[in-house]
Amino acid sequence: MRSDTAVATTPTTQPARSPVRGRLSSVLKQIWRDRECYLFLAPFGIIFTVFTVVPVLMSIFLSFTYFNMLQPARWVGIHNYVRLFLEDDVFLIAVRNTLLYASITGPLSYLLCFILAWFINDLKPKVRAVLALLFYAPSISGNAFMVWTLIFSGDTYGLLNGLLIDLGIIHQPIQWLLEPTYIMPIVIVVVLWMSLGTSFLVFIAGLQGLDPRLFESGAIDGIKNRWQELWYLTLPQMKGHLMFGAIMSITGSFTAASQITQLVGEPLTTDYSAHTIMQHLQDYGTVRFDMGYACSIAVVLFFAMVVSQRLVQKLLDRVGR
C-alpha cells in the first residue's frame, strides 16, 4: 500500500512521462533487477500455479454453475449460494456442528501438540525420536481407526459396553456410533487422539532450532522456572511456528470429516447429529454428483477458515508481551 503511493507521486517530479507509463516502467525495471529471485521462485511457482491455483480458480468458477460431471457446466449465477443459505436446512446444521466442533478440537489439539512437543524437547535425540513416534502413531499406522471401532462397537462385545455392563452401570449395550447424543463427543475424543500430526512435528523441529545460548543467558538473567522460560524466551521465538500450527489446526478442525466418515462407516450420521460442512460437501460431491453445489460449499468453508486464521493471527501477536 505504502509503495503504491510512493510510486504514484513520482510523476510530479518527472512531468515528461504519463503517470501510468512511468509507473509501469519502474515496475518492469524492478522486476528485471530482481530476475534472480523469480528464477528461484519459478520451479515451485509454476507447479503451484498449474496444480493448485488453477484448480482452485476452476472450482470457484464451478461454484457458479450447475455441474453434474457428465454434462457440461451450466452457468446459474449465485443460485448455489442462495440455495445454500436460504433453502438448505441441513447446511445450517452442518455450520453449527462445524463451528462447535472446530472451536473445541482446534484450540485443544493445538495446545496438546505444543505442550507435548515442549515436554519431550528436553530429552536426548534417540529417546525423543521414539517417544515422538508413539505420539505420532495414530497418524502413521494404517489401521488407526480399528482400535476405536472395537472400543465403541454397539454390541455387548464392544470393549466399552462390556466394561460398563460388567460394572453394572448399564444393562443394555449402547449403540455408541448411532446414538446422536454420543457421536459428537466420541468424534472429538478420537480427533484429539489423532491430532498429534504435522504441527506436533513442526513444533519439535522448531524447538530444536532455537539457539541454546538464548536459554543459557536467560538462566543468568534470572529466569526461574520452565514456565517463565516458555513465556519470555521460547514462545516469542516460535511465533512463526505457532502460526503454522494454527493454520494446521484450523484446516484440520474445519475439514475433519474423514475421521467421522471412517468411524461411522459412511458420510451421514443419524439425524445429521455429527454432520459437518465437509461431510455436506462430500455428500454432494461424491454421492449426489452435484459438483457445482459442492464447490460453493468449499468456497464458504474457505472464507470461514480465512476469518478464523485472521483472528488467530491477532491472538498470536500478543504472545510474550
Binding site: F40, P43, L123, P125, L134, Y136, L196, I247, L301
Partner: protein, 289 residues
C-alpha cells in the same frame, strides 16, 4: 535428580517435581496414542482363530508367523513381480520427496531473504491455498493432468507433489525464524552467489525443517496408490498390490494384518532416523548477538 540428569545434557530452569509431573503426563499420553501400533503388531502375529475372537484381544496369546508366510506365498504368485511394485513406490517416493524439498526450499529461501514485487502476493496465495478443500479441486486437477497427457505415467503423481504448499510454508517459517540477516550479509560480502548462500549457508541451518518435511512427504507418498491416474498394472504401487491381495476374501484377514505391519516399516524407520537427526546445534543463528 539422577533421572533428570540421565535424560538431559544441560540443566537449566527445571525443577525435579516438574520433571516428574511432565514424565507422568508423557507416559499417560503415550500409552493412549501408542495403541494402534501395539494393536497392529499384535494382530500380525495372531493365528486366524484369534483374529476372529470376540471380544478381540489387544495382545496376542499364541504368536505365529503364519500370516507373514501366507503373505510372502501370495506375493510370489503375483502376476507382476512384487519387486516391481516396490520399485514403483520407491521411484514415486524418492523423486516426489526430493523434488518438493528442493523446489519448496528454494522458493522459501528467496521469499524469506529478498524483497521483490509479487513476493507477498505469492506467499499470501500459498497460505490461502492451504485452506481450500482439496475434495473439489480433484476434478479440475484430473482435467489438467489429462490435458498434459500425463495419465498413466509416474509424472501424474510425482510432479504435483513437487508443488505441495505445506512444505513451502514450513520452510518459509523456519528460514524466517532461524536465519539471521547478519549471516546473509556476511555471505554476500564474502562474494557467495545466491545459490551458494541458499545451499551452503541456509539449508544446513534449517535442517530440522527439511528433515521434518521428508518425514511428512515420505509418509504421504508411500501410501499413494496412484489409483486415479495410473492404470497400467506394471506402474502401480506397493499399497495397491497389497490391497489387492488383502481384498481376496475374509480368510485374508491375517494376511491383511501382516500387510499393515510391512507397510509401516519404512515410514517408521524414516521417522525415527530423521527425528533423531533433528538436534540443537550451537552457533547457527544470531552470530553477531
Amino acid at each position: 535428580m539422577a533421572l533428570s540428569l540421565s535424560i538431559r545434557e544441560k540443566k537449566l530452569a527445571r525443577s525435579v517435581g516438574g520433571d516428574a509431573a511432565a514424565f507422568f503426563f508423557l507416559f499417560l499420553a503415550a500409552s493412549f496414542t501408542a495403541l494402534p501400533i501395539v494393536f497392529a503388531i499384535s494382530n500380525a502375529f495372531k493365528p486366524l482363530s484369534e483374529l476372529f475372537l470376540f471380544p478381540p484381544t489387544l495382545i496376542v496369546r499364541h504368536p505365529t508367523l503364519a500370516n507373514f508366510q501366507d503373505l510372502f506365498g501370495l506375493m510370489a504368485q503375483s502376476w507382476v513381480p512384487m519387486t516391481r511394485y516396490f520399485l514403483n513406490s520407491l521411484i514415486i517416493v524418492a523423486l516426489g520427496t526430493v523434488g518438493n524439498v528442493l523446489a519448496a526450499s528454494m522458493a522459501a529461501f528467496i521469499l524469506s531473504t529478498r524483497k521483490f514485487i509479487g513476493a507477498n502476493l505469492f506467499m499470501g496465495m500459498v497460505v490461502l491455498s492451504l485452506m481450500f478443500a482439496s475434495e473439489v479441486t480433484a476434478i479440475p486437477n484430473y482435467i489438467i493432468i489429462a490435458k498434459l497427457g500425463w495419465i498413466d505415467t509416474y509424472a501424474s503423481v510425482i510432479v504435483p507433489a513437487w508443488g505441495s504448499t505445506l512444505g513451502l510454508y514450513l520452510m518459509k517459517k523456519f528460514i524466517d525464524a532461524m536465519v539471521d540477516d547478519s549471516l546473509l550479509e556476511a555471505a554476500r560480502i564474502d562474494g557467495a552467489s545466491e545459490f551458494r548462500t541458499y545451499w551452503s549457508v541456509v539449508m544446513p541451518i534449517v535442517r530440522p525443517a527439511w528433515l521434518t518435511m521428508i518425514i511428512l512427504l515420505f509418509q504421504a507418498l508411500w501410501g499413494t496408490t496412484g489409483g486415479n491416474f495410473i492404470y497400467s498394472e506394471q506402474l502401480k504401487t506397493l499399497p495397491h498390490a497389497l490391497n489387492q491381495i488383502v481384498q481376496g476374501g475374509v480368510a485374508r484377514q491375517g494376511v491383511g494384518a501382516a500387510v499393515t505391519v510391512i507397510m509401516m516399516i519404512l515410514p517408521i524407520s524414516v521417522f525415527i532416523y530423521n527425528q533423531s537427526k533433528i538436534i540443537q546445534t550451537m552457533g547457527t543463528s544470531g552470530m553477531a548477538n
